[in-house]
């Protein structure tokens, strides 16, 4: 049976939108888990597949760790410190709410 996919809405920081050559929110096709959920890892895999230029800019190439000055938000909550395979809210999986990748406020 083919995997069920969901259109996930993702907001990228301005510099990464420029790098990827996109404007505004992007939509990526993410195959849902058997339970119908999506995770950070699934979304980031899909983003990097759709926009290879972003590989290494959101998470480390090798360790796959989130870059320290980036944050992941969804449904008004900070998911940055959750495990990459933890399910995100259903509203993200259904496309009702976007997954936000945010550049942390820091000097420079």
């Amino acid at each position: 049976m083919p995997a069920i996919k969901s259109i996930i809405r993702v907001e990228l920081p301005a510099h990464l939108r420029t790098l990827a050559g996109v404007s505004g929110e992007v939509a990526v096709n993410v195959p849902l888990s058997l339970e119908g959920t999506v995770t950070q890892r699934m979304i980031l895999d899909a983003i990097e597949h759709a926009y290879p230029v972003l590989r290494g800019t959101i998470r480390d190439h090798v360790t796959q760790q989130r870059r320290p000055f980036l944050r992941f938000y969804a449904c008004s909550q900070d998911w940055s410190h959750e495990l990459p395979d933890a399910p995100l809210p259903g509203a993200v999986a259904s496309g009702a709410e976007p997954f936000l990748i945010i550049g942390a406020i820091a000097g420079g």
């Binding site: 790098l19 230029v53 590989r55 190439h61 090798v62 870059r67 550049g103 942390a104 420079g108």
Partner: protein, 371 residues
Amino acid sequence: MSGVRVLVGTHKGAFIMTSDGKREKWDVSGPHFGGWEIYHVKGSPADPNRLYASQSSGWFGQVIQRSSDGGKTWEAVGNKFVYDGVPGTHQWYDGTPHPWEFKRVWHLEPSLTDPDTVYSGIEDAALFKTTDGGQNWQELSGLRSSETGPRWSPGAGGMCLHTILLDPSHAGRMFVAISAAGTFRTDDGGKTWKTITKGLHSKYLPDPTAEVGHCVHRIAMHKSRPDVLFMQKHWDVMRSDNAGDSWQKISGNLPTDFGFVIDVHAHEPETIYVVPIKTDSEHYPPDGKLRVYRSRTGGNEWEALSKGLPQSNCYVNVLRDAMAIDSLDKCGVYFGTTGGQVYASADAGDTWNAIARDLPAVYSVEVQTLP
């Protein structure tokens, strides 16, 4: 008529400045990659329209950009820099072992003959190479895994491999410099390396003549005499006449021999340039006067060049990669400051004009002499 293209990397983007052979009127484009730190932009000697840029950010890490039309358009290429094998450790500031961690690309050195081959110097110090135009990068790990590697330690600006010199006369020979480890030479294309620090004296080291630990800020050569090297060290301006096997001090009558840049005249191999900086904690010129110093004798005897440069209340720095020299006759000399000025001299340093005055802090300056 021939012209020049000046490639400027700054704290918040890259700028490209072009002029004809007179080098009086300039067109400035940019910022390219606005908001990103551009440590270095350099063109291929084999194809002047092929440019490479190191773009980095504390938020988003490292990106490498490539242009095939002289900087009009760019495409991001590979940004995966992974140390070869198990990276091991180097020495941390407090003397304890610290794992090697990739931070950024400081310097890009395109091959003299192939536009798709480029060497890159990174922090934490290592040398990488691409042969496919930047899509894939492999470490030349013989350098970092040499016997001295675990004893290298960072300078205040990090442990960066910032200088790569390719010897045009000896295939396989190149020189690199690392802060704060020293200078190294390979004669086999990067497989094996020799530490070339004999004659360096650094009073901040427990053993001032130690093999490694010297904070070399920059080395330079003239392509017609690749066995003659010039060095601006943390303190001391040095010279080698035997491809780095030994060094002699040539600071002579400089007002201070601290500084970052050093470069060589395009047509006179014994004419060299430095910008003296007051001290290692006061990173600005002595007396608030921005002066380039030129030696026509290969060192020791220096003259101040100040015509057109600010001679009061000037407290900028000139970073290690921020000087370049074109090959027109008379040769042009260029440098950028942390205050955002880019100065040009079309007469080998006798007189200066600002191409730009209000850029972000300048990290690097390169120049291409165009047909």
